[in-house]
């Protein structure tokens, strides 16, 4: 570096290009996309940060396609999912979690309204012929992913209409029937052989199915109701919750003014109670444990409370009381809670001498359901009322897979959907003779931790809430309670999302790099760090709002 003698200050003859500051440090930041807590918690593994980013960018088509990589029915899950994703949302460290399900619902509704379709009708599907039993979320999820993999699918449903529990177990105020039908039509189209009203084992034998098809997915749900176990329950005036809901809107069991005692604490118990209320009956939920132990989803409990549904906890039925006119009610006993049991729930014991009478004109039981072992092919093992499956969802040898409520998985729409996908991937691996099946499409990534995101780049803002009908107004019909977010509100909510672990090319890392060592490579959707110049200050890592960069130590 020769300098003219008369320079009053020290200036190099060249720039800093030859100044390889990267040799100074031992810390090396690198591009390292991660798994967001929401996606980690989502049973369906939906790439939430990615679709949120697309919604924010107003690219709703790709947002919808991103959701449908995993879940073909965002209109449905957006309405009924219990959204565990939102519990782990890191945004709540700043204000409130993102209303993920509301944005998902918006995207689903938008896609349907704008004529997007899952499949472009191409030629005939040519893969092996497979049978899917049951058209609930598990069966539909399985059909969808099998179609995507190129299989020929036939769908069998015992009930006259498709949808399983989505149609017969969830009332219209939570999931309108037309939304369900539209979503199913969109997924199944003309590509699936549909056989509604066909019960295997009654209308067709399992042998026939097994000879006609090369693989089977079992998604029949849990149909065996758990009875009350009290004398006289079969005489009349006592119904199973799911049976009650199946025809509640078309063919009500009860008359206005009747007092209905509902036994249970799950979603079914609450849906029965809310349906009774809409039929001008007087519902009362009786639950044997404490309120904290109720398996019903939080939203459902909250909405039922708004509607004034009465819930009495720590009460068990002891006997059915009848006289010559018919059902009079129940004798009950009060319970006391005990310590945590091995299942992580608090137990209960009856309090001696607390017997009392509860008047009621009708009783509905909602204790859950078991797999109907009679209605399953031979070779499928049922343990404690659930079909046993392998990690890949195989329920026996020779290409039989199962999912949904018939297995022991947690019972929710999104769990069922995910098990359907697992079954499809399992069947695919079975036909391709692959040993290993990835349970998910994405390679497991490191999970984003709270200290890896930089909330300084976000200012507090309220979670977007769609319009909801007032409780006083909505209890008089079965119409939907909630509206869909407006496009503006959905975009606003998507912009609240931090997009943990997902690089959206915000450019902060490159902007803050003092050595100009960081650059975005939009073509490859990656960040390049030139280690000739990066001296390992890690400002880029610190300033990345979403934890997309990590540091390794060079040894």
């Amino acid at each position: 570096m020769s300098r003219p003698q008369n320079y009053p200050l020290s200036i190099s003859t060249k720039g800093t290009q030859d100044h390889y500051t990267g040799r100074w440090g031992v810390l090396k930041p690198f591009f390292d996309e991660k798994l967001s807590p929401c996606r980690h918690r989502c049973p369906g593994s939906i790439h939430i940060p990615k679709f949120m980013n697309l919604v924010q960018d107003q690219n709703l088509t790709d947002a919808w396609r991103t959701i449908c990589e995993e879940n073909p029915m965002p209109r449905i899950t957006g309405r009924v999912c219990f959204h565990p994703c939102e519990e782990d949302c890191l945004r709540q460290n700043l204000d409130q979690p993102i209303a993920i399900h509301q944005v998902e619902r918006f995207v689903g509704d938008w896609a349907f309204k704008n004529g997007l379709r899952h499949f472009e009708p191409t030629g005939d599907l040519t893969g092996p012929r497979l049978a899917v039993i049951g058209s609930g979320p598990a069966g539909i999820g399985c059909c969808y992913h099998l179609l995507r993999l190129g299989y020929q699918v036939s769908l069998f449903e015992a009930m006259p209409e498709l949808g399983g529990l989505l149609r017969y177990g969830i009332p219209g105020y939570r999931l309108p029937k037309d939304v369900l039908s539209e979503e199913l039509e969109m997924i199944l189209g003309s590509w699936v052989g549909l056989h509604p009203g066909v019960k295997i084992g009654r209308d067709i034998s399992w042998e026939e199915i097994q000879s006609d098809f090369e693989g089977i997915f079992l998604g029949p749900g849990a149909q065996q109701s758990i009875s009350l176990g009290l004398e006289g329950e079969e005489i009349g005036g006592v119904a199973d919750g799911l049976d009650f809901l199946k025809t509640v809107e078309a063919n009500p069991f009860i008359r206005p003014g009747q007092r209905v005692l509902i036994l249970g604490g799950g979603n079914t118990a609450f849906d029965v109670a809310r349906a009774v209320l809409r039929l001008q009956g007087l519902p009362l939920i009786l639950y044997r444990r404490s309120k904290e132990e109720m398996p019903a989803f939080e939203d459902e409990i909250m909405e039922a409370e708004e509607e004034g549904i009465e819930v009495r906890t720590l009460i068990s039925p002891r006997g059915i009381v009848r006289d010559e006119e018919g059902l009079k009610g129940l004798t009950c006993v009060r319970n006391r809670i005990t310590d945590l049991g091995p299942d992580g729930r608090r137990g209960f014991v009856p309090i001696e001498g607390s017997d009392h009478f509860m008047a009621g004109d009708f009783i509905v039981t909602a204790f859950g359901h078991l797999a109907d072992a009679e209605a399953l092919p031979s070779g499928v093992k049922v343990v404690h009322g659930s079909v046993t499956v392998t990690a890949q969802g195989a329920a026996g040898s020779g290409g039989v897979f199962a999912g949904g409520d018939v297995t022991a998985a947690p019972r929710s729409v999104i769990h069922a959907l995910a098990s359907g996908k697992r079954g499809a991937l399992g069947l695919d691996a079975y036909f391709k003779h692959q040993k290993e099946v990835r349970p998910d499409k994405f390679t497991p990534l490191p999970l984003v931790k709270a200290d890896q995101i930089n909330l300084h780049y976000f200012s507090q803002s309220l979670r977007m809430v769609p319009e909801r009908r007032l409780a006083t107004e909505r209890v008089s019909d079965f119409h939907e309670i909630q509206a869909t977010l407006t496009p503006e509100a959905a975009a606003q909510e998507a912009s609240r999302c931090v997009k943990c672990g997902f690089c959206n090319a915000c450019g902060n890392c490159a902007f803050f790099c003092p050595d100009l060592a960081v650059c975005l490579d939009p073509g490859n959707q990656t960040i390049l760090i030139d280690d000739r110049y990066c001296k390992g200050c890690c400002i880029c890592v610190e300033e990345c709002p979403r934890g997309v960069l990590s540091v390794e130590v060079e040894t």
């Binding site: 009053p8 200050l9 060249k14």
Partner: protein, 387 residues
């Protein structure tokens, strides 16, 4: 056109008139209203200046220096602790030969905590390679700002304009605000000789060996010394356009004076009144107001003081363990006379006062003149005037 302006407002006007392109500053009392005013004018779109708010004075000087390196006209302002916080970057700015102009509004350095004016902050930065110009009216603040850019951009050294906190900064005086076209004619756009430019990359301030380092320091020293005559040339031109000038120092009734008081800054305005009053009483008092403190106009000061018998120095800053800062400079200027041994130098009396904003009243100044005339010679220790 005459307007009623505080010193800080006058400076803010000057920034606009000088077409400063970057201002990067951090607020500190009593300077705050300078950058507040600038920020306000920028936000209102009345100034074509990039205002960069920053988290500390160290950074504001770094930012101003970086801006200046790219070849734009850059300015900052500070006071007291803020100036002290910049200390490291002051050396960097002068070593980089950057024509930055900064206003320092005087305020005592803590501890203990104090808000009022003395000269300890600016005088403690005398060795940082910055030119220093002390103002005594709000008109001078504005005019000096415009002159300072000419000076800085010619000698390639940064200039600190110093004004007494509150006495000038927050006090209104009539100020003749020049017309923009006149200022434009007097102060053309800055053409940087050396600049950071990505299209032609160079590294500024790369490691220099001892010989280079020493050569550059000497060159900066010699360039700074040229600024004395340069300011006089600039002022001639300024005088032609604006009919005002101030000189590197101002001698007031020193020709026949029995005692000449040497001072810096706004207090000198009060001293002039005291000199007039004493002369009415028959006491021949005089004043030398040093405007340019760096480079120190030693030769010009000697030309005046070597004819004097007694010189009183008004020290508004003290170098603890040595004495008044200004009196050290005055004594050195007299001692550095090439004919020192053959000429009789005046007696120099140091009066330390005004620290932490202590009011320097006309009565006190009268006492200083009278004590000086009655004393046979200075004591070893300076005289502390505490009331």
């Amino acid at each position: 056109m005459k307007e009623l302006l505080t010193g800080n407002e006058a400076v803010a006007r000057g920034i606009g008139l000088a077409r400063v392109e970057v201002v990067s500053a951090y607020p500190i009392t009593p300077q705050t209203s300078v950058v507040e005013e600038v920020a306000k004018l920028c936000a209102a779109g009345k100034l074509k200046t990039r205002y960069i708010r920053i988290e500390s004075e160290h950074s504001s000087m770094a930012c101003t220096a970086a801006a200046s390196m790219t070849g734009v006209r850059a300015f900052t302002a500070t006071s007291s602790q803020g100036l002290a916080y910049m200390h490291e970057m002051l050396h960097w700015a002068s070593g980089s030969r950057l024509p930055i102009v900064m206003v320092n509004v005087n305020r005592a350095l803590g501890a203990p905590w104090n808000l009022w004016s003395d000269h300890s902050d600016s005088l403690s930065q005398r060795d940082t390679g910055w030119l220093q110009l002390y103002c005594h009216t709000n008109q001078e603040c504005l005019d000096t700002l415009i002159q300072a850019f000419r000076l800085a951009e010619t000698v390639l050294l940064p200039v600190m304009i110093v004004m007494d906190g509150f006495i000038l900064s927050h006090t209104m005086e009539p100020v003749d605000v020049p017309r923009p076209e006149d200022v434009d004619a007097f102060l053309p756009p800055y053409e940087a000789r050396y600049r950071l430019d990505p299209r032609e990359p160079h590294v500024f301030n790369i490691l220099a060996d001892s010989r280079d380092f020493m050569r550059m320091r000497r060159q900066a020293h010699e360039d700074m010394n040229r600024a004395v005559e340069l300011l006089e040339d600039i002022e001639l031109e300024f005088q032609n356009t604006f009919s005002r000038s101030y000189g590197v120092l101002e001698a007031y009734l020193t020709e026949d004076a029995e005692v000449v008081l040497v001072g810096l800054g706004a207090t000198c305005g009060t001293v002039k009144d005291v000199v007039d009053e004493l002369r009415r009483q028959g006491f021949k008092a005089g004043l030398v107001r040093i405007r340019m403190f760096r480079p120190f106009p030693a030769r010009k000061l000697r030309e005046i003081l070597l004819n004097q018998k007694k010189v009183a120095v008004l020290d508004q800053a003290v170098s603890m363990g040595a004495g008044g800062t200004l009196s050290q400079e005055v004594k050195q200027a007299l001692f550095d006379d090439p004919h020192f041994r053959t000429r009789e130098a005046p007696l120099v009396f140091s009066f330390i006062t005004g620290l932490g904003g202590l009011d320097i009243t006309p009565e006190m100044l009268e006492r200083i003149f009278k004590e000086t005339i009655h004393a046979s010679g200075p004591q070893e220790e300076p005289c502390w005037m505490e009331d």
